[in-house]
């Protein structure tokens, strides 16, 4: 039931991100949009942080496996690992934002590129943050004596959400960072 609910929720979130992506691509041919994307974004920093986020999906799978076996100590460890990897990704995004705003003078209001870039990656970042909060809540639940059953019910749904956030990042990363080198 909770998994069905989460699948529907991420279905609606997917439409939300598709709309933002269409918004981003809509401006592709306007002015020097793609050149700005290539010159001012730092793909060399983005790649490692992307790998960090993707690896967090694997750590989550490990946590889920331990949870299913009933080894709650190890499950907790891997859940916290997953949350930490999410935080590392967010700090990478924070660094990118800081660099763009301070060094390149790219802001939400500097150009259409700025608006589209910050909206797309910002909303994704918010979803990562939401996921981290959910993971920490789940970890806390699993340590409580009477929270174990709730945790068992929630872990599948939160997993679907966390993998979804990863998949969205693959779409965002491909569009924002890779596409300027392909087209």
């Amino acid at each position: 039931m909770h998994k069905l609910m989460m699948k529907l929720a991420i279905g609606s979130e997917a439409v939300f991100f598709i709309s933002l992506l269409l918004g981003y691509l809509h401006f592709w041919n306007s002015g020097d949009f793609d050149q700005v994307a290539r010159q001012q974004l730092d793909i060399r920093t983005a790649i490692p942080f992307t790998l960090v986020l993707l690896s967090s999906s694997i750590t989550f799978l490990v946590a889920e496996k331990h949870h299913r076996k009933g080894v709650s100590g190890k499950a907790l460890f891997w859940l916290l690992c997953t949350a930490c990897l999410g935080l590392v990704f967010l700090s990478g995004q924070g660094y990118e934002y800081f660099r763009l705003i301070r060094k390149e003078q790219v802001t939400v209001s500097s150009s259409v590129f700025g608006s589209a870039f910050f909206a797309l990656t910002g909303f994704h970042g918010l979803h990562v943050l939401t996921g981290i909060i959910a993971l920490l809540y789940l970890s806390w639940l699993s340590t409580l004596e009477n929270g174990k059953r709730s945790a068992a019910a929630a872990i599948g749904a939160i997993g679907i959400y966390w993998h979804f956030v990863d998949v969205v990042w693959i779409a965002v990363f491909s569009t924002v960072y890779l596409l300027p080198y392909i087209l």
Binding site: L8, S12, V15, G23, S115, A119
Partner: protein, 548 residues
């Protein structure tokens, strides 16, 4: 048959007399209370949105009228449309959905009761936030679809559109929550024996509709988020002066907006499907076609949005594609009209108020459908777009389709919700006054549109026939207002001293009529076996049960 009636009769009067304390309504998560509060929210905003319409019709009653300032008029038509769509029709259909769906599938609650309550309150607060704009310096004034670049800071300087975006965003989150909740409820909480081929058609419509809500609303939410970024922190999505795109807003808005008009009509289709069956005393004619054509509508509805944008110059290829898809979507809707006619054919017809609205719907909605097909022909659209012909068309489908469905639902389920019968005689007065007023107002507007009167003008010169036709349209609006006052009186009187409603006042077929009116907090203590699409028919006619 005997056991059925004794079972329900001894449960009858207990629940109806007890009054719930005020704080109960703020804390309840009971799907029945939430449903009723959705309906009250809709009624509240219906009165406000209707008053805005009356003010507009007063302004337009005579030529060269200077009663309302043009600025005020802009705010009025914007608030009228926004209110009626987002805070009247949406809460009304969601209210009926969350009230009726669990009862119809034999469940005692929605899958997520607290999410249900959250969705109600966030929708209500979204509406209040929209109206707070008036206190904050001016209501939104760029029309209900709020086109760019008119929705930008430099053209709309009051805070109105900020409140529009935030209010709709909140309501949108609420609607998506309820959509998800309804799908999970229908898919996981049906009583034993009720396969998806046996659920009542209203539930089928609610299910398909919820998928539409989950798939369409996020496009609007994304557009509103971008708009808020534009207006609050100076982003450039829709700001054409800084490289933004007005077309992007139109695309995103109508990617939501066209599924939205089906979101508003599908639950009404569900209501009509129940009403036609019960008051014809027959099974639906072509269950699978009603359900299947609804799925077809839902899928097609995501591929027709550009027919709102024929005049923006996207080119002949794009226009032709969307003209064809728009004509295509008329077919599954037409199929249903014949299903309902076939259900009535040879039936033992009872013209109660819900049935009257259902029959009127067949006629009015067909008119609205035909003018809609006319709009899918691109040159006709170019000629008539932004004229009163559009106003006539959309009111025929929204009022003649969606609102009539909500009225039919109100009269049909009021006994279940309140434990009291509505007055049929007052109801018939309401029906005739409203239908006559509605046709007077909006049929005439077809001609005004053909004569070239543009929509959204605050006044017009004294051209031959303009004053006469507009005056008649205004008179019709007041007939509708009179009818609504009769409805309010009917509701007030019936809640206080209407005759108590038995569990099954209409001799109906579906499970909600098995429990008491109003149902106890836990809907069902026990349920009849479900071996067909009409469990109550089987119970009442054991000698002649349904085969499917």
């Amino acid at each position: 048959m005997d056991t059925f009636f004794t079972h329900t009769v001894d449960k009858l009067p207990a629940a109806s007399g007890r009054k719930k304390p005020l704080h109960h309504w703020f804390t309840t998560v009971d799907h029945k209370d939430i449903g009723i509060m959705y309906l009250l929210t809709a009624l509240f905003f219906f009165i406000i949105g209707g008053s805005a319409a009356l003010l507009m019709r007063v302004q337009l009653a005579v030529a060269n009228n200077q009663l309302l300032h043009p600025d005020v008029y802009n705010q009025l038509f914007t608030m009228h449309g926004t209110t009626m769509i987002f805070f009247v029709m949406m809460p009304a259909l969601l209210g009926i959905t969350v009230y009726v769906t669990p009862l119809m599938i034999g469940a005692n609650e929605m899958a997520y009761p607290r999410l249900n309550a959250f969705a109600l309150w966030i929708t209500l607060f979204g509406g209040l936030l929209l109206y707070f704009s008036i206190a904050a310096g001016g209501a939104p004034n760029a029309g209900w679809f709020n086109y760019a670049p008119l929705n930008q800071q430099q053209y709309s300087t009051s805070r109105g559109i900020d409140y529009y975006a935030m209010g709709l965003l909140l309501a949108g989150i609420g609607s998506v929550s309820t959509g998800i909740n309804t799908i999970v409820t229908v898919l996981t909480m049906r009583v034993k024996g009720m396969s998806l081929k046996r659920v009542p058609l209203f539930v089928w419509m609610a299910l398909v509709n919820s998928f539409l809500i989950v798939g369409a609303l996020p496009a609007l939410n994304a557009a509103l988020s971008m708009l808020l970024l534009d207006r609050l922190i100076n982003a450039h999505f829709f700001n054409t002066a800084a490289g933004g795109s007005a077309l992007l807003w139109e695309h995103l808005f109508w990617m939501f907006g066209h599924p939205e008009v089906y979101i508003l009509i599908l639950p009404a289709f569900g209501v009509y499907s129940e009403v036609f069956q019960v008051f014809s005393g027959k099974r639906i004619f072509g269950y699978a076609f009603v359900a299947g054509s609804t799925v077809a509508i839902a899928l097609l509805s995501f591929g027709v949005w550009v027919h709102h944008m024929f005049a923006t110059g996207l080119g002949n290829t794009v226009n032709s594609f969307f003209a064809a898809s728009s004509m295509l979507i008329g077919i599954p809707t037409g199929v249903k009209i014949f299903n309902w006619l076939g259900t009535m054919y040879g039936g033992h017809l009872r013209f109660t108020v819900p049935m009257l609205f259902a029959v009127a719907f067949l006629i009015e909605f067909t008119i609205g459908g035909l003018s809609g097909i006319a709009f899918s022909i691109v040159p006709i659209d170019w000629q008539l777009t932004d004229s009163y012909f559009v106003v006539a068309h959309l009111h025929y489908v929204f009022i003649g389709g969606s609102l009539f469905g909500m009225f039919a639902a109100l009269f049909y389920w009021f006994p279940k919700m309140s434990g009291r019968m509505l007055d049929e005689r007052l109801g018939r007065w309401f029906f005739w006054l409203f239908v006559i007023g509605f046709n007077l107002t909006f049929f005439i507007q077809h001609f005004l549109g053909l004569m070239g009167m543009p929509r959204r003008v605050y006044t017009y010169p004294d051209i031959p026939y303009y004053t006469l036709l507009n005056f008649l349209a205004s008179a019709g609006a007041f007939l509708m207002a009179l009818a609504v006052m009769l409805l309010l009186y009917n509701l007030y009187r019936s809640i206080r001293k209407g005759p108590p409603a038995p569990a099954d006042p209409w001799d109906a077929f579906t499970l909600e009529w098995y429990t008491a009116s109003p149902p106890p907090e836990k809907n069902f203590d026990r349920l009849p076996p479900v071996n067909s699409r009409r469990p109550l028919w089987d119970l009442k006619h054991p000698e002649n049960p349904d085969k499917d």
